[in-house]
Symmetry: C2
Subunit: 90 residues, 2 copies
Amino acid sequence: MDENTVFVGKKGVMSYVLAVVTQFNRGAAEVSVKARGKAISRAVDVAEIVRHRFITDAKVRSINISTEEVERKEDNSQTKVSAIEIVLSK
Amino acid sequence: MDENTVFVGKKGVMSYVLAVVTQFNRGAAEVSVKARGKAISRAVDVAEIVRHRFITDAKVRSINISTEEVERKEDNSQTKVSAIEIVLSK
């Protein structure tokens, strides 16, 4: 995975906020925040908290939504899940 | 509220999909899908299902994320919540 990508999952919002802030503080010009399914709301929280509270010169450069196919391990069936990518840049 | 806006809340995804499809079928050139907090993931599902399954010539014209202040009724305190607006256009 790209080193400038933070994949938002089920942990608390602030652990992802910290990950994004750390990337910027290491000199990244942009950081991509990605999530799928129910974690999408949390990814939006992460982007909003980063740019309003921590890296106030960060801007939302782009937001993309998409649909990904995921394999369910129980029965090997394919299921679809929505995804989001929010790119923040300084 | 704007008649071309669908506010996604706690109902099932398909009721919002139907609302968006109905707007387009009534001749709307664009429909705005809005949500706050945990409903943000559902709003992304709504947009993805509409454009992949029902209105296949619909495009994502813009996506905006923001932070809104909400008043909590219990104690009249202000709390912040993330919001999304996805504009679909034909």
